[in-house]
């Protein structure tokens, strides 16, 4: 057993012992911890919230239209990556790499994601949809594709839908940003500089 392991073991018991001695009398969990949001139209709210965080929402009828839109929006951009088989002809950068550092030159990634949250414009993405966790962060520009009907009103509903997360997952709301210099909003801190969300109809 190493020194740090010995610290860990004795400290664990010490901390838990002190907590047991000092914790307050038992309190029950509150009964109401979820709330319903009453939006007139969930998709409109989703759009509105994303508009506030500089994110465009585009409805596409099918995968062909998605591919056409992708061509149009990112014409002339090199290092295009995607997780969507229907866009493989559009992409020129393979995600089939073993070291995630190799992704650093990606300019645009169009990625399948699971669902969106209307109250804040966040989109849930997880290991299930990604060959590399760093992809939505390391790419210069990011686009998510989610089914048009995969929208929930608020975070309570989101967690009902999630149940359990797998290895890793993230709510992402808009492009990366910071206001650390005199509270001036700047888009493109460390993550994506721009974000587009495609709502895919049908399926």
């Amino acid at each position: 057993m190493s020194v740090t392991e010995r610290i860990d073991m004795s400290s664990r018991d010490k901390i838990l012992g002190q907590i047991r001695q000092n914790k307050p009398d038992e309190v029950a969990l509150p009964t109401v911890t979820t709330f319903v949001s009453h939006f007139e139209n969930t998709e409109d709210k989703f759009r509105e919230m994303l508009g506030l965080i500089y994110t465009e929402v585009i409805v596409v009828k099918n995968l062909e239209e998605l591919a056409a839109k992708a061509e149009e929006l990112y014409a002339g951009v090199v290092n295009r990556a995607t997780t969507i088989p229907a866009l493989s002809a559009w992409a020129d950068f393979s995600l089939n790499v073993s070291d995630p550092h190799e992704l650093e030159t990606i300019e645009i990634a169009i990625v399948q994601a699971e669902f969106g949250v209307a109250e804040n414009g966040a989109v849930w993405i997880s290991d299930q949809y990604l060959p590399h966790r760093v992809l939505p962060f390391i790419t210069q520009n990011l686009a998510f594709v989610i089914p048009r009907n995969a929208l929930v009103d608020n975070m309570h509903e989101a967690y009902v839908r999630l149940q359990d997360t797998l290895g890793w997952g993230c709510f992402i709301a808009g492009p990366s940003k910071t206001a650390d210099i005199e509270q001036s909003l700047v888009i493109g801190a460390h993550g994506a500089r721009s974000m587009v969300i495609f709502l895919l109809e049908g399926e």
Binding site: V3, T4, K14, I15, N22, G121, F137, M155, G167, Q183
Partner: protein
């Protein structure tokens, strides 16, 4: 960072010398407070959400041991290694041990107030480890060799000119450049290189879920994820009060956190870590460092409900006009002032007095901590245990003599009003602390009591 520590009142006096600067600081933070107000009013259920969050945290405090054990067990099942640190020194040793084991001498770090509390960066640097803070605000204050002045907005005390000069010196930006877009781009390039070359990443923890063994890290910049997903080893450090019972409770806390902090409905990234990625090592360090002692203080244990949103700082009239550094503690402002005396009563005896007890902090707190009541109660404890400075003690004693004797109170009030009218220089001078940064008001001709006695017959 080993500057002589000034008491809050003295440091505030220095801060207040530049009036336009103080006004700017005050207004900037008030603007953030207003964004919080606007955002919270979008949710009709806001008060019920606060109530729910407060209730969950009370449950947490009374079940901490069980929740931590469950969290540890689940995390281990998920392939995450769990460490326990009784104090700051143990925490720092554990992190150093992990880095040494992997022969790593350079690490990126995203925001973690806990590592500030433990003075981890200094410790690691002394042991030959370079730590790069990757949150833009934190990188700025790190380059200036000073601590963050705010838990959410680390460089809120700086003007863009200060940052332009700093980046010119360290990052080679153009001399005199102050455009935030340009400066942020320079930092992006500088830090991207660090993300791509560092093998270890340390992050804080916003919430740890007992039921699943996972933890959530919230950022706007994406720096926690950039670091963690590229590194061979991810170390996440948490105070043990970060635990919440179930994943569904994140719904409550994530709705409150960013709205209270900056007025955003959610931070850009809310990253849920559960298992290391293939080939990666993930570690969680659970830290006590005085928290279990605070848990035993009946009047003060509720301070452990804090989710570190910073709303109490943005609203505090004293914080806004004295700046975060005047609190000489990793966590400044009202919440820092009720946490700090637990860590060191002698060193932090001044902090509970850095408040007007106006109660605004308690009103905005998303988890309903009775902050201003605790500030008041800490004053009693500190006075009783002999930690109150002599000058303050004499004043308090004089005050209690006057207030305890109604006739003496009436007489001294009349005397005071007469003196202020006849000889204003007696109060309008540097010896009177109330005269600093403000003019004394014109004294009323008579007290309310005198007026009432005279008019009662009518």
């Amino acid at each position: 960072m080993s500057k002589t520590v000034m008491e809050h009142a003295d440091a505030s006096e220095v801060f207040n010398r530049d009036e336009p600067y103080v006004n700017w600081h005050d207004e900037t933070l008030w603007f953030v407070r207003q964004k919080r107000d606007k955002s919270s009013k979008q949710l009709p259920e806001w008060e019920q959400l606060r109530e729910a969050a407060s209730g969950i945290k009370h449950y947490v405090l009374s079940h901490l041991d069980e929740l931590l054990i469950s969290f540890e067990q689940k995390a281990k099942e998920n392939g995450v290694q769990v460490h326990w640190a009784a104090n700051a020194a143990e925490h720092n040793e554990i992190v150093l041990g992990l880095l040494k084991k992997h022969k790593i001498d350079k690490m990126v770090k995203s925001k973690s107030m806990l590592t500030e509390e433990c003075h981890m960066n200094e410790f690691l640097q002394k042991n030959g480890i370079e730590v790069i803070d990757t949150d833009l605000g934190e990188r700025i204050v790190q380059l200036r060799n000073e601590p963050p002045s705010h838990i959410v907005l680390p460089a809120i005390h700086l003007k863009k000119k200060d940052i332009g000069d700093l980046f010119h010196e360290h990052l080679g930006t153009d001399a005199g450049a102050t455009d935030p877009q340009y400066l942020t781009e320079a930092a992006r390039q500088h830090l991207r290189d660090k993300f791509l070359t560092r093998r270890a990443a340390l992050t804080g923890v916003n919430f740890a879920v007992a039921e699943t063994g996972s933890f959530v890290v919230s950022t706007n910049e994406g720096n926690a994820d950039m670091g963690a997903h590229l590194a061979d080893i991810h170390i996440a450090c948490m105070g043990f009060e970060k635990i919440i019972p179930k994943q569904e409770h994140l719904g409550v806390f994530l709705r409150l956190l960013a709205r209270s902090a900056t007025g955003q409905p959610i931070t850009t990234y809310s990253s849920h870590f559960k298992k290391p990625r293939e080939g990666q090592e993930m570690h969680i360090v659970i830290v006590d460092n005085g928290r279990s002692t605070q848990l035993g203080r009946k009047d003060f244990r509720n301070s452990l409900k804090c989710i570190r949103c910073g709303a109490c700082m943005n609203t505090c009239p004293v914080y806004r006009r004295s700046g975060g550094h005047s609190y000489h503690n990793a966590v400044a402002g009202p919440i820092g002032s009720i946490l700090a005396p637990n860590l060191d009563m002698t060193k932090n005896a001044d902090l509970p007095f850095a408040s007007t007890l106006c109660g605004s902090c308690s009103n905005v707190c998303p988890v309903k901590i009775d902050i201003h009541d605790q500030l008041y109660k800490w004053r009693q404890v500190l006075a009783k245990e002999g930690h109150v400075p002599k000058s303050k003690e004499i004043g308090i004693r004089a005050m209690s003599t006057v207030l305890a004797a109604p006739r003496f109170y009436q007489w001294s009030g009349r005397l005071g009003r007469t003196v202020m009218r006849a000889m204003p220089f007696m109060v309008n001078n540097a010896l009177n602390p109330w005269y600093k940064q403000r003019d004394m008001p014109e004294p009323p001709k008579e007290s309310f009591r005198d007026w009432y006695v005279r008019n009662r017959k009518n």
